[in-house]
């Protein structure tokens, strides 16, 4: 019978994992469970629910640093930061609506362990780049800490980078310390209307190469732009290429104007104000365009591809030539989100086969559990890397008690 274990302290997490390791009993590790459907279904016997480990432990606005227990809701963190006009720099997505688990449930360590990184990643870096330190319990049943609360720290192996994107398969994080950033005074978005995908990627590349400090660059083909939460974008009736500029007002005004001049050749230009910009980028961040065709409405399967930006449009074209679906681009063309008509095998061979010589990888983010159990959710690794992955897992979790199989079968 599946039992839910709800430790209330880091010490109890340690005892629970030690017990599981001794009994060789696999645990499904979760915070709020908002991303349970992200990854392969794990055949764990019991659930390790961290929801009682909640609360901000340290917040130094002067120092731009915050520590919080594992399952502290992102909503609480955002609220505390907003009081000081600060924010998380990595813009973690709220994937709950996309995955059918509801909005606003995500936790800080859930975001970190899945390395959720929003549109700002191209300038501000990924979740893993914002972790200063953490405490955790390894699958061996040992407590350890890594990093600390300073920005620079080169004390041995960079364990925080391993934790980000490990989906709870190496260790149970009990708290995390992240850097936070000042909220920009002004945010504007320059829109270019009507560019084809390949042209749009060129426009984004040109903008990102300019001196105007673009903090996000996305492209929505017309069919995706039509469901934008921002009325003027939805009404454009054309593809929309969006470039975000943030900072003090005079600087933002100047850069937005300069950007419009720079991109004249690509089509008509429009501009979104701060409120519209925030709504626009939130929807890009949360893959909001694909929520409506979710579980209740036929469940389009959602893929996330990371490729060299200049190859993005070509990869998408190869996939959509052979399958029904929609795409939009983030990170200047380097991140592709695809919603494809459901297929029993997720179309994984066609999707991964479309990735070109520049490399990249594809993750099946939304699909029924039986599909996620049957096809590789994460990009399969070539043999030497796969062996290395297995060795790293074994070093942290030799008995395979933490989220076994969540990322790769047998790991």
């Amino acid at each position: 019978m599946t039992e839910t274990l709800t430790p209330e302290t880091a010490e109890q997490v340690l005892e629970t994992v030690q017990w599981a390791a001794a009994e060789e009993t696999p645990l499904e590790v979760m915070g709020a469970g908002s991303k349970r459907a992200y990854g392969r279904p794990s055949p764990a016997a019991h659930r390790l629910d961290l929801k009682a480990l909640s609360g901000i432990e340290l917040y130094e606005p002067m120092e731009l640093v915050m520590s919080a227990k594992a399952a502290t809701p992102l909503a609480d963190i955002d609220a505390a930061l907003a009081e000081n006009r600060q924010r998380l720099g990595f813009e973690p997505a709220d994937l709950g609506p996309l995955l059918g688990t509801g909005a606003g449930a995500g936790t800080i360590c859930g975001a970190v362990i899945c390395n959720l990184s929003g549109p700002g990643r191209i300038k501000a870096g990924a979740a893993r780049d914002h972790i200063l330190g953490f405490h955790a319990v390894s699958g061996r049943g040992g407590r350890f800490k890594s990093g600390g609360r300073v920005v620079k720290n080169v004390t041995g192996f960079d364990l925080s980078k391993l934790m980000a994107g490990s989906f709870g398969t190496l260790a149970v994080m009990t708290d995390v310390t992240v850097k936070v950033m000042p909220e920009p005074e002004e945010t504007r978005t320059v829109l270019v209307l009507g560019a084809g995908d390949a042209q749009a990627v060129k426009a984004m590349s040109e903008a990102l190469n300019s001196a105007f400090e673009i903090s996000a660059a996305a492209h929505l083909p017309a069919g995706v732009a039509a469901v934008s939460a921002v009325a003027s974008v939805a009404a454009a009736g054309a593809a929309v290429t969006a470039l975000r500029v943030e900072g003090p007002e005079p600087s933002v005004v100047y850069r937005a104007e300069a950007l419009k001049a720079l991109l004249e050749a690509y089509g008509n230009r429009e501009e979104l104000d701060t409120a519209e910009s925030l709504a626009f980028w939130r929807q890009v961040r949360d893959v909001g365009f694909f929520v409506a065709d979710g579980p209740e409405a036929g469940q389009a399967q959602v893929w996330r591809l990371s490729v060299p930006p200049a190859e993005g449009a070509g990869v998408a074209a190869r996939i959509l030539d052979a399958a029904d679906g929609r795409v939009f681009y983030d990170w200047g063309g380097g991140l592709l989100w695809l919603a494809l008509a459901p297929r029993p095998d997720g179309g994984h061979e066609a999707v991964r086969g479309a990735i070109g010589d520049g490399g990249g990888h594809a993750t099946l983010v939304r699909a029924d559990a039986d599909v996620r159990a049957a096809v590789p959710v994460f990009q399969p690794q070539p043999e030497p890397l796969a062996r290395l992955t297995a060795r790293v897992k074994e070093a942290f979790d030799p008995k395979g008690v933490l989220n076994p199989g969540r990322m790769y079968e047998g790991v």
């Binding site: 990184s117 192996f157 980078k161 990102l208 990371s306």
Partner: protein
């Protein structure tokens, strides 16, 4: 249980010659030079140095060593500061200096792939006509391979981050000689564990990095520089805190203490105020760098900053920053014939003024002569201790001072090393700082290098 490493024998030398031909040396002078870095640590020469020219050669060399369980020590430019290149158990040093090709530059994706032996300056010379540059500048003329292996940073970290944020992909020769490519040019690697970043900062203990793909940045349209003296270190640090907090995207902020400023005045015949001084650099559009300098000027004025000066023309900027550029040589000139022992703690910026003040008081009580230079935007500062390496008592005093400094930093929630790394010089401090995490690191080391041949005796004891 320490297993004694196997030694280099004629059979191995013969095997290595088959791979690299004449590019191999056992001469005492060459080995001696490859067993020392720029630190005060005692050199430990390897038994043989091979000069590799390709990933395949490195793989062959490592395989030959692995079969015989002989240690492998990667060598870039020899600019490390904690004995990272010391061949503590003898073995084969692989000099990667001849792997100096820029493999590819992709301007539209803003990345470049280089061989490990390319230096930072070589890369930026190569990039000159592309409008792009690679910002990480550790000061020394380090190789990109070495900078990756030590997770280097430098004065630009406030705006551009460190090697940690700027390495996109690697080719690595593992301890058994197999070659892996950890990710490719795609920006993000949720394809499994982030092994790329595990190798970044692994100090040659997990594998030999032979090729690196780096993130590049557009050369800023404009750069401005500023200098300002303060009555106290605390006023200077508070200026830095307010600057960062107000969202000014400063590229560099450096602090020189009073002693360092006096040293520079003497060395370069300059007339800076003999007071704690901040050096700023701003990158951006013409308008932005002017605004940023003005914002900082206003903050500094509120905190007692004096003689605020700023400039945008290159020659004027160089003049303003001259004191910072000459800092190390000016310090060394305080005591000719001595070596600089550079410490490397980092503390939360809210404790930085306190830490520097206590450290200055500590120095005043000690016979040591020293100056302080800080990358204050990061809370990282270096005490440059001027020591005579032949005076055992002086070295011992420096060691005691360094230990007090590290413990002071740890007590303030800081770290024993912000950018130099552990090498073999700080292994005990690593244990003091991280305790059980060292066991986790050891497990990773054993998983990836079960025979402990990769740069043994660094980071963790096996």
């Amino acid at each position: 249980m320490a297993v004694e490493a196997a030694r280099v024998n004629d059979d191995l030398i013969e095997a290595l010659r088959e791979i690299v031909g004449p590019r191999l040396s056992t001469s005492a002078a060459v080995c001696e030079q490859h067993g020392r870095d720029e630190s005060y640590h005692t050199p430990h020469p390897p038994d043989v140095v091979v000069f590799a020219e390709s990933t395949d050669e490195v793989a062959g060399i490592v395989k030959a060593c692995a079969r015989r369980q002989v240690p492998v020590i990667p060598f870039g430019a020899g600019t490390s500061l904690e004995g990272h290149v010391a061949a503590l158990h003898g073995g084969v040093c692989i000099d990667l200096g001849a792997m100096d090709q820029v493999v590819a530059v992709n301007p539209e994706d803003m990345d470049a792939t280089v061989q490990a032996g390319v230096t930072r300056a070589q890369l930026n010379t190569y990039l000159r006509d592309t409008g792009l540059f690679f910002p990480i500048d550790p000061g020394a003329e380090a190789s990109i391979g070495g900078m990756t292996a030590t997770r280097a940073s430098g004065t630009n970290a406030v705006r551009y981050g460190t090697m940690r944020e700027n390495v996109l992909a690697l080719i690595v020769v593992l301890a058994d000689g197999r070659v892996i490519r950890t990710s490719r040019r795609a920006r993000k690697s949720s394809a499994g564990y982030d092994l790329t970043r595990l190798f970044v900062g692994s100090e040659g203990t997990l594998g030999v990095i032979t090729e690196i793909t780096l993130r590049l940045y557009g050369i800023p349209e404009a750069i401005s520089a500023a200098v300002c003296a303060f009555p106290t270190v605390a006023d200077a640090v508070n200026t830095v805190i307010l600057t960062i907090q107000s969202g000014v995207p400063v590229a560099r902020i450096e602090l020189l203490d009073k002693r360092q400023m006096e040293a520079v005045n003497t060395y370069s015949d300059l007339e800076y105020a003999a007071a704690p001084t901040l050096f700023f650099e701003f990158h951006g559009t013409e308008r932005a760098v002017a605004e940023q300098a003005e914002t900082v000027q206003a903050i500094a004025a509120d905190l007692g900053g004096e003689n605020f000066a700023w400039a945008t023309r290159p020659e004027d900027r160089d003049k303003l920053w001259k004191a910072r550029h000459d800092a190390l040589y000016a310090s060394l000139a305080l005591r000719p014939g001595c070596r600089g022992w550079v410490t490397d703690v980092c503390v939360p910026i809210s404790r930085l003024a306190e830490c520097i003040t206590e450290t200055t008081a500590d120095l005043e009580k000690s016979p040591l002569i020293a100056t302080i230079v800080g990358h204050v935007g990061d809370g990282n500062f270096h005490v440059v201790l001027l020591v005579d390496p032949d005076q055992a008592e002086e070295i011992a005093e420096a060691e005691r001072f360094n230990e007090r400094l590290v413990m002071r930093a740890l007590a303030m929630d800081g770290t024993c090393t912000g950018e130099h790394g552990i090498g073999h010089g700080k292994m005990d401090f690593l244990i003091a700082e991280h305790g059980e995490a060292v066991g986790v690191m050891r497990a990773i080391k054993q998983a990836l290098d079960p025979d402990n041949i990769m740069n043994p005796g660094k980071i963790v004891r096996v």
